[in-house]
Each structure stands twice: as structure tokens, then as C-alpha cells.
């Protein structure tokens, strides 16, 4: 692709050839019959090569065609033959009509040519806009825009070197994008000595052309091409191109800034969510602990045994809750930074679940029931992390259900994995929240939502790190069930066919 406004020399030559040859052929063809055909017929035939020549070679052919046709017509077809003289007065009429017709047709064709040139120029401009529009759509970053502009400039203007330079206020110049051959340091010095160039301007004998595309605080962006187009039409298009390219770069810069702002806003949102979480989840247990301890320590009030026990139990439970929260915070940082290290081993899920429930103690009361088969295979997992997952799921159920809502924890073996379910008969989870519930800091849309959106996100992160799956089965208004699957440990010590052997294997060795 190359942009141009005038007819190439090759076609002009072809047009001239066609005209001269056409006239010669017409003359040769008509010569045997010149006495029998009328002068007007010869004139009509001789119009054809002139029109063909102009159509092919452009408007510059027209005078040549008209003169060649006129001379041939006069010499060969108007008596006396062989001279430019005209014998009969009425033959003058034929000659004049021929000249007029040729001129008019040549003129019309010339007009058509002009119109075609104009259309081509418009098309070239449109193409620039079109290509640039595509660059705009494709360039999310300033770097991408620079790259696309240099490549496009090289293509559109047939340049062997196309580069974008960034000139800092201090005067230092560096190439930020280029297509084709590299610019030499002498080229860079030349461009920087002439910067800023508000329009695309040829730089002396270097065959370079350079001009400003955009400026920002502290830096100027310059487009440099070699060789510089010589055609004025191309220079005009290059200026237009530079102007539009500047707009593209500005757009890309704005979109980069917008993206940066969005990222900052997201960081800000997460930070304030974390602050809110830390503030609430640390202070609430601390409030219970401090209130309880200040009572126990107060010598002026009478606490009966029951009250003392209640306060002590509160302190213990709330300390566990604080521990869970602090562990969650640590896990969160490790998951977010990708530094979660699994300390895997064969873990008995039933024992793990029971120990978690013991820690919750009276918070759960009689509301929890367990459905775990005795022969549940061991899972290949990090005990501490899975403990945290179960604790988070149980705490989530307690938090979102009214007191004493039944909670059922069950586990069952599958092929290669063990599935555990924590099911409550609470209010369920709104459809809109279900898709986001495992996202960090997602707290649900219902006004009654409690919690800080860390616990479930950590569950998801931990289970995923194990190569397992965690999902939610919830009916709005009809309870929620969180289900997770973990891979079974490789050498399951329980074998349905041979329980005795297993028992012996598991039992401690007897010393005799």
C-alpha cells in the first residue's frame, strides 16, 4: 500500500503509445477505402485512439492525441492527400468538427480524471482515518499506540525507517517505538536539535522528516520517517496523519490513566474493607473479653459461681474466635501473595471436625449433629488449614442463622476423594450473592449481612490449593450447604475386605 495523487509515469507512456499506435492503425486500416468512405467516417474513427489514449495515460495525453489525430486526418483523408492543405472549403468544416469533438471528449475525460484523482485522495485520507481508528480501538496503552503508529506510518508512506522519539525536558532523547531500520545516533542528535517541530518538516539533507505528535508535562513525542515523501500531496497526508496520531496517543494516555485510577480505587476499596474487618472482628471479641475480665477482676461486685463460669467460658470462646480471625488474616496474606505452603499428610477428617466442634463448645449447644461413617478414608491435606476451613464454615453457619438452628455436618467417601458437607437450616443465601460469596471481602447484599467477607474466601483459597473443590448448595429461604472435596490419602489404612489386617497394622507394636 502506498499513497499517491498523480498518474504514474509508466501509464503516461502507455497512453502516449496507445494514442500514436491507434492513430497509425486507424490510418493504415482506412487508407485503402479513403476514396469510397466519407471524410466524416474517417474523422469518427480517428476520435477513438485519442479517447483511448487519454483514458489510459491521463489528461496530459489529450493535446498530443488531438494534434496527432488532426494532422493524420488532414494529411491522409482530406484532399489533396499528402499535404496539410485543404482543397475544398467544406472539408474545413470536417476538420474543425473533428478538432472540436476531440477537444471536447478529451476535456470530458480529463474532468473525469480529475474527479478520479480527487476520489482517490479522499479514499487515501479515509484510509488513514480508518487505519487510525483501528489503532485507537486496539491501543489500550501508550506503548501499544506508539508501536501501531510507527508500523502504520512506514506502511502508508513507504518509509524504510519509522520511529517515535520521546524528548524529555532535560533534553535527553530516546526511541520509544520503531519500525524498519534503526535511527543512528547522528539522526537522534539532529532531530533533538530541531525539536519541537510543530508540523512534519524535512530535516535538510538527511532525508528525514519529523514532527511533533503530542506533548505532555515534561516530554514531547516526535514522529520521524525516512525517506521523507517528496510529493506535496503525500506531505499533506503525512501532516494529517501526524495530527490524528497525536489524538490516538492522547486517547491511549487517558485510557492508561483511567485504568490506573480504577486499580487504585480497587486497592483503596480492599484496604478500607480490610480496615473495617480488622476493626470489627478484632474489637468485638476483645469487647467481650475485656468486659468479662473487668467483671472478674472487680472486687466490689458479687459474682456467683454461675456468673463467673459464664464469663470465663465467654473469654475462652472469644479468644478462640480471635485466634481464628488472626489465622484467617495470616492465611489471607499468604493466599493473596501466592505463598500458601501446604504441609500435607494423611488427615482423619472425622477427628478434625470433632476437634473443631469441641472448640466452639457451648456456642453450638445441641444444634449440631454429625453424620460421618466410621470407615471414612483419610484425606491428603494440611491439617491446620483444613481445620481453619471447617471452623470458618461452622462459624459462618452460626453467624448467619438464628440461635439453635440445626446444623448438620456430614462426610462421605467418593472415588479418589472425600466429600464433607456443612448444612444449616438458616435463611439461605440470595441468588445474587451466590456467585460472589467466595470472593475476598464480599459481604452479601442483604442489609442483615454480618461478617467481613474473609472466611469463605480463605476456605476457597485453601481448598483450591489442595486441588479440591468447594461449592455452595443453597436455596433462597431454605438453608445453605457448603460442600468441599479433598483428595484421599494415597495409602488408605482402611480396607473393607480385610479389616483385621488393618487393625493390626494401625495398632501400636507390642513389645515382647
Amino acid at each position: 500500500m502506498h499513497l499517491g495523487g498523480t498518474t504514474p509515469p509508466g501509464r503516461r507512456l502507455a497512453g502516449t503509445g496507445v494514442t500514436v499506435l491507434g492513430v497509425a492503425v486507424a490510418v493504415g486500416g482506412l487508407m485503402p477505402f479513403r476514396t469510397s468512405i466519407s471524410v466524416e467516417t474517417a474523422a469518427l474513427v480517428l476520435v477513438v485512439p485519442v479517447v483511448l489514449g487519454v483514458a489510459l495515460g491521463g489528461v496530459t495525453i489529450a493535446p498530443l492525441g488531438v494534434i496527432a489525430g488532426f494532422v493524420a486526418f488532414d494529411v491522409f483523408f482530406i484532399p489533396p492527400y499528402g499535404t496539410l492543405r485543404v482543397a475544398a472549403g467544406y472539408h474545413w468544416i470536417s476538420l474543425v468538427v473533428y478538432a472540436l469533438v476531440s477537444l471536447v471528449i478529451g476535456g470530458v475525460v480529463a474532468q473525469l480524471y480529475k474527479a478520479r484523482d480527487l476520489a482517490e485522495r479522499r479514499e487515501a485520507e479515509l484510509r488513514i482515518f480508518y487505519e487510525l481508528a483501528e489503532v485507537v480501538a486496539g491501543s489500550r496503552t501508550v506503548d501499544a499506540a506508539h508501536g501501531a503508529i510507527t508500523a502504520l506510518a512506514a506502511l502508508l508512506f513507504g518509509a524504510s525507517t519509522s520511529a517515535i522519539l520521546l524528548t524529555e525536558d532535560g533534553g535527553s532523547v530516546r526511541t520509544v517505538a520503531q519500525a524498519g531500520e534503526r535511527l543512528t545516533s547522528a539522526d537522534l542528535d539532529l532531530v533533538s536539535s530541531r525539536t519541537p517541530l510543530p508540523r512534519m518538516s524535512p530535516l535538510g539533507s538527511s532525508r528525514l522528516i519529523a514532527g511533533l505528535l503530542a506533548t505532555t508535562s515534561g516530554a514531547a513525542t516526535t514522529l520521524v520517517l525516512r525517506p521523507a515523501p517528496t510529493d506535496p500531496e503525500q506531505l499533506r497526508l503525512l501532516d494529517l496523519f501526524a495530527m490524528q496520531a497525536g489524538v490516538v496517543i492522547d486517547r491511549a494516555r487517558l485510557s492508561e490513566e483511567a485504568a490506573r485510577m480504577t486499580a487504585l480505587a480497587e486497592v483503596d476499596r480492599l484496604r478500607s474493607a480490610l480496615m473495617r474487618s480488622v476493626s470489627h472482628d478484632l474489637r468485638t471479641p476483645l469487647a467481650s473479653i475485656k468486659a468479662s475480665i473487668s467483671d472478674l477482676a472487680d472486687g466490689t461486685i458479687d459474682l456467683d459461681l454461675d456468673a463467673s463460669q459464664t464469663l470465663l467460658a465467654t473469654i475462652e470462646e472469644e479468644t478462640d474466635r480471635l485466634t481464628r480471625f488472626v489465622t484467617n488474616l495470616l492465611d489471607m496474606t499468604r493466599i493473596e501473595s501466592g505463598a500458601l505452603q501446604l504441609n500435607r499428610g494423611a488427615v482423619p477428617l472425622d477427628e478434625l471436625i470433632e476437634s473443631v466442634l469441641v472448640r466452639f463448645g457451648r456456642l453450638l449447644g445441641d444444634s449440631v449433629s454429625l453424620q460421618i461413617p466410621d470407615d471414612l478414608p483419610l484425606v491428603d491435606a494440611d491439617y491446620t488449614l483444613v481445620d481453619q476451613v471447617v471452623a470458618n464454615l461452622v462459624e459462618n453457619a452460626i453467624q448467619h442463622c438464628p440461635s439453635n438452628t440445626p446444623i448438620v455436618i456430614s462426610a462421605s467417601p467418593g472415588t479418589g476423594w472425600v466429600e464433607a458437607r456443612v448444612a444449616d437450616e438458616g435463611p439461605g443465601i440470595a441468588r445474587a450473592d451466590q456467585d460472589h460469596i467466595f470472593e475476598m471481602f464480599y459481604r452479601g447484599t442483604a442489609p442483615s449481612t454480618r461478617g467481613t467477607g474473609i472466611g469463605l474466601a480463605i476456605c476457597a483459597g485453601v481448598i483450591a490449593a489442595h486441588g479440591g473443590q468447594l461449592w455452595l448448595e443453597s436455596v433462597e429461604g431454605g438453608g445453605s450447604t457448603f460442600v468441599f472435596r479433598l483428595p484421599t490419602a494415597r495409602d488408605a489404612p482402611f480396607d473393607e475386605d480385610d479389616t483385621d489386617v488393618v487393625r493390626r497394622a494401625v495398632a501400636p507394636p507390642v513389645t515382647t
Binding site: A287, A291, R450
Partner: protein, 231 residues
């Protein structure tokens, strides 16, 4: 404080349990609610003498609960805030809460706030018709626009008097900068909290025995002022 009826509104079961155990051991008669809606219902039915209200409730925002209670009763409200943010407490005070305490707190601190709220509210309701307000050693004659401290008359500027009178109408209550500015200077001055600071310092020089360690006109840092009976 034997037998004083308290209502504690908090959704955190552990907090409720600790508060109820401690308050009952101190002789209060305590009822509890674990949501804003339940709390509002119990305020209406039981008519508690003081309400302890947590701001972070699951159903209705604590500030809104404050506003709804104030629509029809002047029962003192002590707000529990876990936010750590000043803004929420100030909002609650603007909506009519009497005092606030930030979690975590000791039971002794909480009881001190309850005492202040109870004492002043009792006095306040008894004296609403009087044109003379008394708060500890202060006596403020609203009609005569004169003030005596421990029997000795002090001369106050017009603004100082208005400020003191407004605080004295709500003894024991923490009045936010915004409320004071709106009442004394006018609604267009609500952001000029330095005005209050300057005038409160002037007032202290005239009414406090030791203006450096005030005992009557107390500061709630970043929030507002409170006029209390030091005894």
C-alpha cells in the same frame, strides 16, 4: 443503682452475655435484644430507664434506631461503637444519643456512663418547666440571663451564655460540635468547630475551679462537649 431497668441491644451473642452477666451482678435488671427491630419493640413495651445500643446491628442501622427512639422518648441512650471511626458516634449523638463508649471497654467505664446518663436525665425531666437550670455548682437563670457558680455570679458574653445554657438543657449528654454550632451560631456555621473550642475555653476560665483540669465542662475529643455534675 439496684433494680434500674436496662435494655441492651447488640447482635453479638458473646458481648450480650458478658454485659448481661456483669450488669446483673451489679444489681441492674437487664433485658436484651439482638436486632434493631426487636430493640425498638422492647423500648416501647418495657420502657427501660437506660438503653445500651450497639451501632452495628444486622437489620436497622444503629444510628437509625437512635433516631426512631428519639421520635417519642427521651430515655437515655449509651451507644457502643466498634467502628473505631469518629463519624458513626457523632452521627448517633446528633440523632439524640446521650453518650458513647468504644469497644473494647471495661465494665467500670460502662457503669460510669450509665450513672451519668441516669442522674442527669432524672434531674432534667424534673426541671423542664423551671427557668433556672442547675448542674452541680452551676445555676443558670434563663430569664435573667445570669449565671452563678458556687453562689458567686459570673459575667458571661452573650455567646458564652447561649453555649452554656444549651449544654445545661442537656446535662450529662455529649453534645456534638455540630449541634452546638447550629444552636448557638446558626446552621451556616456548622463546620466551624474552632468557634466552639475557643468559647469553651473562655467558659472554663469563668466556671471551672481549675480550667486546666475541667470537672464541669468536659471535652469528648473530636466529638463535642458534655456538661456534668462533678459530684
Amino acid at each position: 443503682m439496684k433494680g434500674v431497668r436496662l435494655l441492651v441491644i447488640d447482635d453479638e451473642r458473646a458481648v450480650l452475655r458478658a454485659l448481661v452477666t456483669g450488669l446483673r451482678a451489679r444489681g441492674y435488671s437487664v433485658t436484651t435484644a439482638s436486632s434493631g427491630g426487636e430493640g425498638l419493640g422492647m423500648v416501647a413495651m418495657d420502657g427501660p430507664e437506660v438503653i445500651i445500643l450497639d451501632l452495628g446491628l444486622p437489620d436497622i442501622d444503629g444510628v437509625e434506631v437512635c433516631r426512631r427512639i428519639r421520635e417519642w422518648t427521651e430515655t437515655p441512650i449509651v451507644v457502643l461503637s466498634a467502628d473505631g471511626a469518629e463519624g458513626r458516634k457523632v452521627e448517633a449523638l446528633d440523632q439524640g444519643a446521650d453518650d458513647f463508649i468504644t469497644k473494647p471497654f471495661s465494665m467500670a467505664e460502662l457503669e460510669a456512663r450509665l450513672r451519668v446518663a441516669l442522674r442527669h436525665r432524672a434531674r432534667c425531666t424534673a426541671e423542664t418547666d423551671s427557668s433556672v437550670l442547675t448542674v452541680g455548682p452551676l445555676s443558670i437563670d434563663l430569664a435573667g440571663r445570669s449565671v452563678t457558680v458556687r453562689g458567686r455570679e459570673v459575667s458571661l458574653t452573650r455567646t458564652e451564655f447561649d453555649l452554656l445554657a444549651f449544654l445545661a438543657r442537656h446535662p450529662g449528654r455529649v453534645i456534638t460540635h455540630r449541634m452546638l454550632l447550629e444552636a448557638v451560631w446558626g446552621p451556616e456555621y456548622v463546620t466551624e468547630s474552632q468557634y466552639v473550642r475557643v468559647y469553651a475555653n473562655h467558659l472554663r476560665k469563668k466556671i471551672e475551679e481549675d480550667p486546666g483540669r475541667p470537672s464541669i465542662l468536659l471535652t469528648s475529643p473530636g466529638v463535642g462537649y458534655q456538661l456534668v455534675d462533678p459530684d
